[in-house]
Amino acid sequence: MRIPLSYVIKRIGFLVAVLFTAATINFIIPKLAPRDPVTELINQKIASGGLTSEGAAEFGDSLRKLYGLDRPLWQQYLTYIWNMMRFDLGYSIVNYPQRVSFIINQTVYWTLGFVLTSTLLAFVIGTVVGALVGWSKTSKWLSWLMPPLAMFSAVPAFILALLLIYFLAFKAKAFPLRGGFSATIVVNWKDPKFLLDVVHHALLPGLSMLLVSVGGWSLGMRAMMVTVEGADYMTFADAKGLKGPRLFFRYALRNTLLPQITALAMQLGLIVSGATLVETMFSYPGIGNRLGGAIRALDYPVIYGIVFFMVVGIAVATLLVDLMYPLLDPRISYSGG
């Protein structure tokens, strides 16, 4: 094993520090904002007729008490950090008494389902296409794939989503316009008909994510492949009369994968946040769409909760990449101490 335990411990300590810092910034920023969620909520309630102005002050006080907003800042901070350590993200203001952790739990799997699938598919397809296009011994017609892929990678995912919705869902009616499943179907995860319906709904948002990222993966891979093919060890391997597949997989591909895997891990960290706009386009019941809704409704606890959740995702992904490096590249090793 090339990863000493002391390094792992140090690295996990670093992770904790990152999370602590993120949580602190998460706490401070809204305190700097001139808006007060409680006042805004009360005004909203009054405007919609759910509350009269007489009881408003008392209602506000009880809300502040409930959220601990009446206590001194340092006490609020300590309580907040203590809560974060227990992953207690508090209650939604708008959808009281839903817990933020409940909201995340309710939405995250929808997002993971289609974004994870499309990200991994895009990575595999993009890497294979890029590798083949970059490899000088593959036929030249493959390079015709590059211009359309490059074009798709230049288009933002939500614009592509709009086009897909218009042509495939609205005009051709081949796919549902919105949502994660049909309104008329009974939610039952054991029913294959329901599962099929879910997949049908996930195809378009997944496709828009996929098309946009495949280009990036293949462009990066092609460049790496061309660089590696010019390396001295490729020339010598060729002089050894190795078979084509061995040259391609064990010599070329194996050496190009390190930067690709790094990028993939970083991408995986961004999974939760990366699809926010696409989910909004499709009114998909995922975490990104929920975050958008929370921002519009000024539901601070939900915003903090989801953002903190994303930070955890990125931090853990980075940690995994760091620990994976020595296994992928023998030249990288972490000395202890």
């Binding site: 390396a231 001295d232 060890y233 020339t235 010598f236 391997a237 060729d238 002089a239 050894k240 009369g241 190795l242 078979k243 061995r246 064990r250 010599y251 194996r254 050496n255 992928l328 590249d329 023998p330 030249r331």
Partner: protein, 320 residues
């Protein structure tokens, strides 16, 4: 006299660039007897490395073998299919690369790199045979057995070059082409690696083409010497004869540019630079820098002829 192991006849390698054809190797002819060591010297850009690539059929576009024959043990390499050539490499013809520091796959252990060439040439090895073969190859190039489980970055430059040598002899080829095998190493290691190559050549009865521009190294190592200039062969002969009595003015200049211990003072270089291979001078390619050039030299190209037995030269002084 045995049949030569390698016969190169009128070999032409041209690179097609926008401005025209760059004649990197032009009309080169030579024989190499079985079991001998031949040196191939010349300035940078003289075509000696292109020669090596051509023999391995590894000329990359826009370069092309434009004509000629390369007959190795009765088989014309120019006519082989890509797959036939792949099978010929390592089994009959192997290369020792130039930049040892980068010639090994950085993510593969040495033992895997030592045997993968054999595996791709139809050798089947059990796990135990594999280990034995790796151990024997490492021993042949004076490396410790523990190197087998190491990665290239854990080895020094000299050790890495020994590993490439071990790979190139792994299937006991007829001919090894060593393209400046020691140019990236310091002089002490250079000598040790060269000794290893020499010992193996004698032990296995290989033929060797050693490419370089170190005339001193050549004098110590090879029995025959070939001098190239601007893509053309200038002179070939036994090393001893070449140093004692160089026929071609270019060879004379090369040898007189060597520092001699007894002769302190300013060394004579060769004035001028190598001509453009795109528009080589009319007549003899060397006449622009040749101290002995006369009218004929700028008018007609001298033929490469056998001036003395086993001694070939392309110069009007010796053919006229």
């Amino acid at each position: 006299m045995s049949e030569p192991i390698l016969q190169v006849k009128n070999l032409k390698v041209y690179y097609y660039v926008e401005a025209g054809a760059v004649k990197a190797v032009d009309d080169v002819t030579f024989d190499l007897d079985d079991g001998t060591k031949m040196g191939l010297v010349g300035e940078s850009g003289s075509g000696k490395s292109t020669m090596a690539q051509a023999l391995m059929r590894m000329i990359k576009p826009p370069g092309k073998i434009e004509g000629g024959e390369m007959i190795l043990d009765g088989v014309d390499l120019v006519k082989l299919s890509t797959e036939q050539m792949r099978q010929t490499k390592l089994r009959k013809l192997a290369m020792i690369p130039q930049g040892a520091m980068n010639a090994l796959n950085p993510v593969m252990r040495i033992d895997h790199q030592l045997v993968d060439g054999m595996l791709d040439h139809g050798v089947t090895l059990s796990k135990q045979e594999r280990e034995e073969r790796v151990a024997r190859l490492l021993e042949m190039v004076d490396l410790a057995p523990k190197v087998a489980k190491m990665y290239p970055h854990e080895l020094s430059g000299g050790m890495q070059q020994r590993v490439t040598v071990a790979q190139s002899i792994s299937m006991e080829p007829d001919l090894i082409i060593a393209d400046e095998p020691t140019s990236a190493l310091d002089v002490v290691i250079q000598r040790q690696v060269m000794e290893t190559i020499n010992n193996l050549q004698e032990r296995l009865g290989l033929s060797l083409i050693l490419i370089g521009h170190d005339m001193g190294l050549m004098a110590q190592t090879v029995s025959r010497l070939a001098v190239m200039y601007a893509g053309r062969m200038m002179e070939i002969g036994a090393t001893y004869d070449m140093f004692r009595d160089p026929l071609h003015p270019y060879t004379q200049l090369l040898i007189s540019s060597l520092p001699v211990l007894a002769n302190k003072g300013v060394f004579a270089g060769i004035p001028g630079i190598t001509p453009s291979l795109l528009n080589p001078p009319e007549g003899c390619v060397f006449h622009t820098r040749c101290p002995k050039a006369w009218d004929l030299c700028s008018q007609s190209t001298p033929k490469f002829t056998e001036a003395q037995p086993g001694r070939w030269v392309a110069c009007h002084l010796h053919t006229a």
